[in-house]
Amino acid sequence: MLLLTFHMSKKTDVLQGTLDLMVLKTLDTMGPQHGYGIAQRLLQVSERLLQLNQGTLYPALLRLEQRGWITSKWGTSENNRKARFYSLTRAGRKQLQREADDWQRMAGIISRLLGEPDGQP
């Protein structure tokens, strides 16, 4: 199980990529969703182990939008409040596919590496 804590740091390129992947996948699964919904979903999926810093989430949403992978528009939430809803674009869907493949490949490598007897600490 992954335990991720996000910092406002530029050094977490890998983690940033991971966050992008998680956001894209969330939107893919749930359809258009606001920032709160995405955060809740990640909390839920990670069984509350993934405490997402909102200072990371909102810039990430903006970044994904700037790259053209998601779009956003204002709408009305389930409890009748104005909220900004994010949804996946076609380019975003392709990007999700690519990133998911990369992740699988990397995860395979890592787990093979960790599985080797010599890899044990």
Partner: protein
């Protein structure tokens, strides 16, 4: 970052389609509200739910900042923030800000001012079509330029050479223009018909010259400069086609040159440039076409893809061919093909680059001073910076903040500096020697502003980097906890280094200025071979039918001499064809009967002065042997000549030349002339050069007078100028009088370039010394302030005044010593660049270097004065109570 993201960020940074911060606030408010709702549903009361929600969401300011970082271009928003912070910090320290701005304004202003001159004179391309292909062609002179050429020679070049697209010729000319009864000698030029085509300039009005215009029988057309057209012809467009008479010759005006046309600088002593042009009007049958007659300037346009060097190589081969074919007409020598830009400015390049180097030094000193001020201030600011670091500002962030601050300062200094420079340029141009070409084009323009901006930017980084890095290195925790004595050591070490640099640079400038002062001083002690005191000279021009015969000229001269001699305040008068420092050159070969050189062209060219009797006496040139001319040396009398000492030495060696028979110019023709006297040597044009060989012949036997010299009774020779002008005008109003000047001022002009450099260098050196002293003062007084307590203790323990003084001196004297040592080493390396400007003093003159060092040391010790008095006044009781 993808291209698309970059575009989005640029749009975000500059407002287009930029999502407002308010949008994000609403989005976060929604997020918070949702969290709050969830907590309330979990059973909390309203207040604690809100608190829990806020805690979970995190600081909305941080989110907003991270989000803004993502929205705009990285750095742009922080830059905006840094500028705001920087301006605020500078406002909080007005004393520092004013001192830094003033220092920078001086440094940057001086650089801007000198750069405007360098740019206008040296860097700006000549205003002709493809100026890089324009060259001058001629034999290489001693100074490395191209000499005059002859018409017949160039006619051969045109046939044989392959390097040039066109070859054009020019000679200076001074016709007398009479419009509405007012005579004026107009600076002018006669040019080959293809001259303007070669430059790529067309008349603004009318037509240019054609090959038909340029024949000896028919040259009778004129082009006017825009200025002359406006000045004398009221800008009348109907002037084209009008006929005017100059020197009894009728000319038809065929065109007016554009206002923007810049004539090629011609006259050495005149700022005036040509105002009208006529065709050269030579052909190969004319008397001016002899192969040894060389009085034309040769210009050429290189073919595309040809270099000046390749053209010179080809021309050298042609030159050798021609010397083989006409051995008597061409001297040995090499051809010089010089890019036009260099030919026009070569003489002043060294001086201008020296000045540019010197102002760069001044700027460096200014930078060191401001850096030192910054360091001193950063001690006081340590707490502020430490607080910023503690609040999460990284080291790069703090360095950037401080750099922004220093660039802000240098930008302010640049603005003030440009204002300073703009007001200084007029003074600079007035101070500049007339030999600086294109000086009327000096102005603060976009190029200059770009240069200044660049300098300011570099300046800001140079003086900001040291303090910024120091501040970035400081450990925030240590600074916040430890009291104010924390890392003072590091800072004062850096400041000390800066002071040493200051002193070293100041010493270099002082030494340079000292060497130039010695040069100017040496030049004032050079005796030019004549007595320039109380001498007034003016030039006049005889032309036209009224002076077509020698008799007419001689008669005019006689009347003029008598009228001038009768003027009150005039002791002696003489006329001459040229005078020393008058800006004319007229040299001819001299052949001794029975000792003809196999190749006459290799004879030295000897300056010839046609003079009236009494010239030598009027000028105060001593007669070393033989006799002076008398009134009996008339046209009909036997031809006589006086030679100068160096001519005698050059041609007769140890023998006496008196009684020798000689011929001037052509060895084959002309009368035999008897040498009757030997005169002392005179400097003809340059005090720094050895006198040229010279000879004198009586005007009556070879009339060509154009200069009058008057020995006046008063020290101010120009006092009689107006009266002399009137006399000449009364004799014949059609004879123009010009260049009325005392000989002392003419000699002065020949040294003007050196004096210009000297004055500026001295000014820069003074500023440098002042800045260095201020820097040293800052460091020493800071040291005293830091050690108030220690000094107090020492005084309490019985230290004497001398002990305290020594304590203060100990903080500064090693710096002075290091600065002087470093400066001496640097001066030994750099002053050699002054070489070509120096006279009578070596670039590494020990006396100059030593006195500069002593002077600087004296000023440096003075900088200890105030801090020392303050130290002596320290009250031990108070010093110990403080803190």
């Amino acid at each position: 970052m993808t291209a698309r993201e970059l575009l989005a960020r640029i749009a975000g940074a500059f407002g287009a389609g930029r999502r407002r911060d308010a949008d994000l606030r609403r989005e976060l408010a929604f997020h918070a509200a949702m969290l709050e709702t969830r907590h309330r549903e979990g059973g909390r009361d309203a207040e604690s739910a809100r608190r829990a929600a806020r805690l979970e969401l995190g600081g909305s300011a941080q989110i907003a900042e991270a989000w803004r970082d993502q929205r705009g271009l990285p750095g742009l928003d922080t830059l905006r923030q840094d500028i705001r912070d920087g301006l605020r910090a500078l406002r909080r320290a007005p004393g520092f800000t004013v001192a830094a701005l003033a220092t920078l304004a001086i440094g940057i202003g001086a650089n801007t001012a000198i750069f405007t001159v360098v740019d206008a004179v040296l860097l700006r391309p000549l205003p002709y079509v493809e100026p890089d292909r324009l060259v001058t062609v001629g034999d290489r002179t001693a100074a490395g330029f191209s000499s005059n050429v002859g018409f017949a020679t160039v006619a051969d070049w045109r046939q044989r050479s392959r390097s040039f697209e066109s070859l054009a010729l020019m000679r200076g000319w001074g016709p007398t223009l009479v419009v509405d009864g007012e005579a004026e000698l107009v600076p002018a030029a006669r040019v080959s018909w293809n001259y303007f085509d070669m430059l790529g300039v067309r008349p603004a009005l009318g037509r240019g010259f054609t090959a038909d215009d340029d024949r000896s029988a028919s040259w009778q057309v004129l082009l006017l400069s825009d200025r002359l057209w406006r000045r004398r012809f009221n800008a009348d467009p109907a002037v084209v086609g009008r006929t005017i008479v100059m020197n009894d010759r009728a000319f038809r005006i065929v065109g007016v040159m554009p206002a923007a046309y810049e004539p090629l600088a011609e006259q050495r002593y005149e700022r005036l440039s040509a105002e009208l042009w006529a065709p050269l009007g030579y052909d190969l049958s004319g008397p001016s076409s002899c192969r040894s007659c060389q009085h034309l300037r040769g210009f050429a346009r290189l073919k595309p893809n040809t270099t000046a060097a390749a053209a010179a190589e080809e021309m050298q081969v042609i030159r050798e061919q021609m010397r083989r074919e006409h051995p008597a007409d061409y001297e040995t020598g090499t051809i010089a093909v010089i890019p036009l830009a260099r030919a026009l400015t070569g003489q002043v390049q060294a001086a201008l680059y020296v000045l540019l180097g010197a102002v760069a030094f001044v700027l460096l000193i200014a930078c060191a001073n401001v850096a030192s001020l910054q360091l001193a201030r950063s001690v006081a600011r340590r707490r502020e910076l430490a607080l910023r670091a503690a609040l999460g500002a990284g080291r790069t962030r703090i360095v950037r903040l401080l750099l922004t601050e220093s660039v802000l300062l240098s930008a302010g200094g640049a603005i003030a500096g440009v204002a300073l420079a703009a007001s200084a340029i007029h003074g600079l141009a007035a101070l500049a020697p007339v030999s600086l070409p294109r000086l009327d084009h000096v102005s603060v323009d976009a190029r200059v502003l770009a240069f200044t901006a660049l300098v300011a930017m570099a300046t800001g980084v140079v003086f900001g980097l040291v303090p910024a890095l120091h501040a970035g290195r400081a450990d925030p925790r240590a600074t916040l906890v430890i009291d104010s004595r924390g890392s003072v050591g590091v800072r004062s070490r850096a400041r000390s280094t800066l002071v040493v640099v200051d002193l070293a640079l100041a010493l270099v400038l002082l030494a340079g200025a000292g060497l130039m002062l010695r040069t100017v001083d040496a030049l004032t002690r050079v005796t030019p071979g004549f007595d320039a005191r109380q001498l007034l000279s003016f030039q006049f021009s005889l032309g036209g039918k009224a002076y077509a015969t020698n008799e007419q000229v001689v008669a005019y001269e006689q009347r003029t001499l008598e009228a001038l001699a009768a003027l009150p305040g005039v002791e002696r008068v003489a006329l001459a064809g040229q005078i020393p420092f008058g800006g004319n050159y007229d040299c001819s070969a001299l052949h001794v009967k029975g000792r003809m050189k196999p190749n006459a062209a290799d004879d030295p060219c000897i300056e010839r002065y046609g003079v009236t009797p009494g010239y030598l006496q009027t000028m105060g040139i001593p007669l070393r042997g033989g006799r002076d001319f008398t009134g009996d040396d008339r046209a009909a009398a036997p031809a006589v000549l006086i030679v100068s000492e160096s001519t005698a030495r050059l041609i007769w060696g140890h023998d006496s030349p008196i009684g020798s028979q000689v011929r001037i110019g052509n060895a084959e023709r002309g009368p035999w002339i008897t040498v009757v006297g030997v005169a002392g040597d005179v400097n003809h044009a340059d005090l720094t050069e050895p006198p040229r060989a010279a000879m004198y012949n009586p005007q009556a036997q070879r009339p060509d007078a154009s200069v009058a010299v008057l020995k006046t009774a008063t020290a101010d020779a120009t006092a009689v100028a107006a009266a002399a002008r009137r006399v000449v005008r009364d004799i014949d109003p059609s004879v123009p009088v010009y260049q009325v000047a005392s000989l002392a001022s003419l000699i002065g002009e020949s040294g003007a370039q050196r004096r210009f450099v000297t004055r500026l260098l001295a000014g820069f050196a003074a500023v440098a010394v002042l800045l260095a002293a201020l820097g040293l003062y800052g460091v020493v007084s800071y040291g005293v302030a830091q050690r108030t307590r220690e000094v107090g203790v020492r005084i309490a323990l019985g230290a004497q005044r001398g002990d305290v003084s020594r304590l203060v001196l100990r903080s500064g004297v090693p710096l002075v010593a290091a600065g002087l040592a470093a400066g001496t080493a640097a001066a030994l390396v750099t002053t050699r660049y002054l070489g070509s400007l120096l006279y009578g003093v070596s670039p590494v003159d020990p006396a100059t270097l030593l006195s500069s060092a002593v002077l600087l040391a004296g000023v440096a010790l003075l900088a200890h004065w105030i801090p020392m008095r303050r130290a002596l006044r320290i009250d031990p009781v108070r010093a110990l109570q403080a803190d």
